[in-house]
């Protein structure tokens, strides 16, 4: 008895923001260096009246061209850009998509570790006999949280949604997963205002950080150097632990698909793990860092070259601080 990823579809918003567009906004900054190091050429942002939920619906409708929506008996919706404080966005999605009513549906609030968490939860629901076809949706619009003068984060983050179907399978395609949490780093990537602890403040002051970057407590703040340090300290060893947990060896993994955070950082970790670049997925040029959507997008892209069973190690890490990874098998083009 086991679980398998049967299909993935993803969408970006229509509004494409190139590095040239950003150069026009920030003429004093050389984006060619950013492009070379961080590896991003374009990102896509929603319009003001468009939400993560709109993207989620589009991604799901793409998925329904391939699978029967009546088979879905559980919805896991991962977002930090919900439609409302309440109700749960997954409930609204059930209605909008015309899914059956006798199904489970819940939101979970995670960022870059969200997709791998979702896979692990889906596997648990299937293997415990509680569901057979789980719709895992990741939908994120960090662009709405970015300060207009926050050059660094505007260059990194893009919006997207991905819809993944995880189904019951005779054979197990989703292996062992491991988790990590360190809430001491809660404020290394945070939107402070607008929720319960501190309300949205119309009079908020602008805060300068890094080199000529500006944010406010109403906006997203990321302590880049600290997040970089956390990732490089934790993720390479965590990756080795996942390999051990699955009784595998690093050189038996066909492809490593990490959260696509920053090409330089990914290469830095790749070298520390002594992994060849052809076994390590990096593709951020078009789309940038789409938070919980980078891994399903990468899996969809990478799977286009798959003809036989491949062992793929997936690792998500970021806001929380939270990290999660595991081994999956994919045997065909998704």
């Amino acid at each position: 008895m086991g679980a398998i990823i049967t299909a993935i579809e993803y969408v970006y918003p229509k509004q494409k923001i190139s590095n040239e567009d950003l150069s026009n906004q920030f003429p004093e900054y050389d984006f060619s260096k950013f492009e070379e190091k961080v590896g991003i050429k374009n990102r896509y942002w929603v319009q003001e009246n468009e939400t993560a939920f709109d993207l989620a619906k589009q991604a799901c409708n793409e998925l329904f061209k391939k699978i029967n929506k009546d088979d879905i008996d559980y919805v896991l919706y991962c977002t930090q850009s919900p439609e409302y404080f309440l109700p749960t966005t997954a409930c609204i999605l059930q209605n909008h998509l015309g899914l059956k009513k006798n199904i489970g549906a819940l939101d979970f609030n995670l960022g870059c570790s969200g997709f791998t968490y979702g896979l692990s939860l889906a596997k648990g629901l299937i293997n415990s006999g509680q569901a057979k076809n789980i719709l895992l949706v990741t939908a994120e619009t960090y662009s709405k949280y970015l300060h207009p003068k926050d050059r660094s984060n505007r260059a990194i983050f893009g919006d997207a949604a991905a819809a993944t179907l995880i189904s019951f399978s005779i054979e197990e395609y989703i292996g062992e997963f491991l988790f990590g949490t360190d809430g001491a780093g809660y404020d290394k990537l945070i939107v402070k205002n607008g929720c319960s602890k501190s309300p949205f403040n119309a009079e908020v002051e602008e805060i300068e950080y890094g080199t000529d970057n500006i944010y406010s407590d109403n906006h997203l703040y990321m302590n880049g150097p600290e997040v970089f340090d956390f990732t490089n300290n934790v993720i390479p060893n965590f990756t080795k632990e996942i390999v051990l947990k699955n009784a595998m060896a690093l050189d038996k993994i066909d492809q490593f698909v990490f959260h696509q955070a920053n090409a330089f950082m990914l290469n830095f970790m790749r070298k520390r793990l002594k992994i060849e670049s052809n076994s390590f997925f990096i593709d951020m040029e078009d789309g940038g860092n789409t938070v919980s959507c980078t891994i399903p997008i990468a899996l969809k892209k990478y799977s286009q070259s798959i003809n036989e069973n491949e062992n793929i190690l997936v690792v998500g890490f970021g806001v929380g601080l939270s990290w999660c990874g595991g081994l999956i098998k994919i045997n065909r083009k998704l």
Binding site: K33, K37, G210, T211, P225, E226, F264, M265, K271
Partner: protein, 76 residues
């Protein structure tokens, strides 16, 4: 690595304009920003197997101070 080679490599890796010497204040350089910091961490790790953390970066002033953090014995 001898100091002179280190200075040349540092200039090349960080894509710096200025001619480097030990007394140059890294954070005063025109190019200094979080991305250059990231590239510096990568370079130092690859060459010397030393991982600079955010506190190291905070405390670092001149190139000489960077070299003493890396370990002067590595520049003989």
């Amino acid at each position: 690595m001898i100091k002179q080679d280190f200075l040349l490599r540092l200039k090349e890796e960080l894509e710096l304009e200025a001619t480097l010497e030990g007394s140059v204040e890294l954070k005063e350089l025109d190019e200094w920003d979080s991305m250059v910091t990231m590239v510096l961490i990568g370079f130092v790790s690859n060459e010397f197997d030393v991982i600079l953390n955010p506190d190291d970066i905070k405390e670092m002033t001149t190139i000489d101070s960077l070299m003493s953090r890396i370990g002067m014995e590595k520049f003989n």
